[in-house]
Subunit: 111 residues, 2 copies
């Protein structure tokens, strides 16, 4: 579980918002996720991610990338592509991906 927010991002950058519905803890999911987290961290231009899931409800992951080249490098990563296909067949009831260009962002942190 991520316990810190991604901070210090300077626009412009890109967000990949991944929202999903799936049963809790399907078979093989945790191992695949751990592997993918290692792989995405090695993509040049990957800036971080945040992830949340309401038990029994929606999961949302937001990944931050410097530019579309970085985002597409991750999108086309072979292990990522294979995981998405496996996910459609075995894990997810539904998911959506929204690729956005961020021109404006702000935040707050208790001093």
């Amino acid at each position: 579980m991520t316990q810190k927010l991604v901070a210090g991002l300077e626009p412009p950058y890109y967000t990949a918002v991944f929202t999903s519905l799936r049963p809790d803890a399907p078979e093989g999911y945790a191992e695949t996720l751990a592997d993918l987290r290692e792989r995405v961290a090695a993509v040049p231009g990957f800036l971080g991610y945040e992830s949340a899931r309401t038990p029994g409800g929606i999961g949302i992951t937001v990944a931050y990338f410097r530019d579309l080249e970085a985002l597409d490098a991750w999108r086309l990563d072979a292990a990522h592509t294979a995981a998405k296909e496996h996910g459609r067949e075995h894990w997810y009831e539904a998911y959506s991906v929204h690729i956005g260009k961020v021109e404006r962002s702000y935040g707050f942190a208790r001093g």
Copy 2:
């Protein structure tokens, strides 16, 4: 809790990604949230939202808007502004907001 993904969005549209850290269920939070959900639904150009929170961890809400005018109307809503100020003082340890323009999106739903 939202239990369905927002579907059928046609780019271009805008996402407001709100990620936050706060204690579970702070005082007054649930009532304010219920009020804000009613108010945002009345904003012309509001297309829906999804929300998730890992217990003890990060919360992420993604709200979808047709255009920046709709998004700014919500950003400047008086009750919303007041809730954000109250949230900074009483509820949140940290939060971030990322405003993105979506030109590309796709999804999957089991048939």
